[in-house]
């Protein structure tokens, strides 16, 4: 069609300088020590923090699964509404997403504290104050709360493409509700599930705000560690870059698992 590749040249230059080069620099720092000599020490040293990586992966996985389970019925319900209603409901789902992320997490602090609102309300019923904040559970709750809309949207998008007639046909052919669910609904919403998992797992595994505000600084996640190396107490660019590199590899591995996403899906969500 339009034959001017030159139009893309400013972007290509930008891309090389600000997307490719930074990642190369991260790799450079990861494999050198403070004086610039090549070393594998940083990567080896990551073994010491294996518990942090394990914890991050575990909590992120928990949050992703919970989000998936919670969001699936919502996505289905929204996709079956009338078109005009869908629009409004979609906006209502996305509204919390547009509120500032920090404020949303901060709001949970006042809810979960020992003398917080939830404990106060429970106190009216005589139930003892529960220790909710500064636990791993609070961190998972924060992740689920913040990223639930990111799971609802792709599921909804995928399910709107599933025509009602397919489900009716399955039921006509004698499938039970469970059968319809597992053999028709689940496979057809596959792309949506894959996108949703990606959009929840990746931010969850790398967050540091949620663990800092709701985790009390003792449930350290990968994001916290990296932040410590660059702007925090343990000023060590090489170590931090090594951790970032390992994090990227982990994320790439997870993406290869949900590799059925393609550009069309991502565009639909955005």
């Amino acid at each position: 069609m339009i034959k001017s590749k030159a139009a893309a040249s400013p972007y290509l230059v930008w891309m090389v300088i600000f997307i490719v080069a930074p990642l190369l620099i991260v790799a450079y720092y990861a494999f050198t020590d403070a004086s610039g000599n090549f070393t594998l020490e940083n990567i080896m040293a990551i073994g010491r923090y294996s518990s942090v990586f394990a914890r991050s992966l575990l909590l992120a996985a928990e949050a992703t699964v919970i989000c998936l389970v919670l969001a699936f019925p919502v996505g289905y319900f929204l996709s079956r509404l009338r078109a005009s209603k869908q629009h409004i409901m979609l906006m209502l789902v996305m509204l919390p997403m547009w509120m500032n992320f920090l404020l949303r997490t901060y709001a949970w602090m006042s809810l979960l504290e020992n003398n917080g609102i939830i404990n106060t309300v429970l106190g009216f019923f005589g139930l003892g104050p529960f220790r909710m904040i500064n636990t791993a559970g609070a961190v998972v709750l924060g992740m689920v709360y913040n990223y639930l809309p990111y799971m609802i949207l792709p599921l909804y998008t995928a399910m709107t493409k599933i025509d009602n007639s397919i489900i009716e046909a399955a039921q006509d052919l004698g499938a039970s509700t469970l059968g319809t669910f597992t053999k028709v609904l689940l496979p057809l919403s596959g792309p949506g599930i894959a996108t949703g998992i990606t959009m929840v797992f990746v931010p969850s595994v790398s967050t540091f705000i949620i663990s800092r505000m709701l985790g009390g600084g003792s449930n350290l996640l990968i994001g916290d560690l990296i932040e410590l190396q660059f702007l925090g107490n343990s000023y060590n660019f090489n170590m931090g870059s090594a951790m970032s590199l390992v994090l990227m590899v982990i994320v790439l591995l997870c993406m290869s698992f949900t590799s059925s996403f393609d550009e069309q899906e991502m565009e639909g969500v955005m």
């Binding site: 893309a8 400013p10 891309m15 997307i19 490719v20 620099i25 319900f77 500032n100 992320f101 565009e267």
Partner: protein, 282 residues
């Protein structure tokens, strides 16, 4: 009977989920009117926190900076991104795939890695430039913020505009050429109007992501503070209900934007319906 119960269950469930999503925001809003500083015990009604919010210099200057950075970076990203989409669509399949995969990186990468990698790049450039006296000393600050925001906005523009470009009927462009336009005229008069909805929505998305961005800005802001960074530093100190007031105001602004855009959309929809019916009537 059974399906009716199922429907009721479904509705209740969705209502519960919505309650869950809006509960913290409502709590923040309620306590923004609280007389005492307590975040958990409501003592009395007052608008004091809203008043002091409007005299809080730190927040006001952070808000101004956020808006300025968002606007500039959104405009630049939209222009460069649209040009890039056009250029990329003219390339071969393999080049397209390659470039798209690389463009994906800021989207798919965790934000902390994008932020950290950009910071390392700027540090590296700083060290290199200090030998030449070419770049200003205070590199970190507005320049780095803008560059960082443009960088993470560009992929969203590309991935918003390219499907529209692909869907577009290429014959429009060729028809314009046939009717005597130069390629450039054809682009601006025939192609661009078709892409405008996608470009506008890309612009809005860039604005939103830019105003809300915390992690990437946190690593690249230097001495400046954008609104999320200002909020973050407020939550690390003795907390003042001004934060609650701020969040309530932001919530109301976003809500009204949504309602207005919804009203405009439905009016356009009804108009198109009306035109359609008028067309059918003929």
């Amino acid at each position: 009977m059974k399906s009716r119960h199922l429907r009721l269950l479904q509705r209740t469930y969705v209502v519960l989920i919505f309650c869950f999503m809006y509960l913290p925001i409502l709590v923040l809003a309620v306590f923004s009117f609280n007389e005492s500083k307590s975040r958990t015990v409501f003592t009395g009604f007052t608008l004091d926190w809203y008043k002091s919010l409007f005299t809080n210099r730190m927040i006001l200057s952070a808000l101004a900076l956020s808006l300025a950075v968002a606007l500039v970076s959104a405009v630049v990203a939209t222009v460069v991104g649209t040009m890039a989409t056009v250029g990329i669509s003219a390339m071969g399949r393999k080049s397209q795939l390659f470039i798209n995969n690389i463009s994906y990186m800021p989207v798919v990468n965790p934000e902390i890695i994008t932020g950290v990698s950009l910071m390392l790049l700027f540090v590296f450039l700083q060290n290199w430039a200090s030998k030449f006296d070419v770049l200003p000393d205070a590199f970190f600050g507005l320049p780095t913020l803008l560059i960082a925001h443009i960088t993470f906005n560009l992929p969203y523009v590309i991935f918003n505009v390219s499907p529209k470009l692909r869907q577009m009927d290429s014959r429009i462009y060729e028809a314009a050429l046939d009717l005597g336009c130069t390629p450039r005229q054809a682009f601006f008069k025939a192609v661009l109007p078709e892409l405008t909805p996608a470009i506008l929505s890309a612009f809005l998305i860039c604005l939103t992501y830019s105003i809300d961005d915390f992690i990437i800005s946190y690593f690249n802001c230097g001495t400046l503070q954008t609104l999320p960074i200002a909020i973050y530093s407020m939550t690390r100190k003795k907390v003042s209900p001004e934060i609650n007031a701020l969040s309530t105001i932001m919530f109301l602004v976003i809500l009204s934007i949504i309602l207005i855009s919804n009203a405009l959309d439905s009016r356009r929809y009804k108009r198109e319906q009306g035109l359609g019916k008028a067309g059918e009537g003929r």
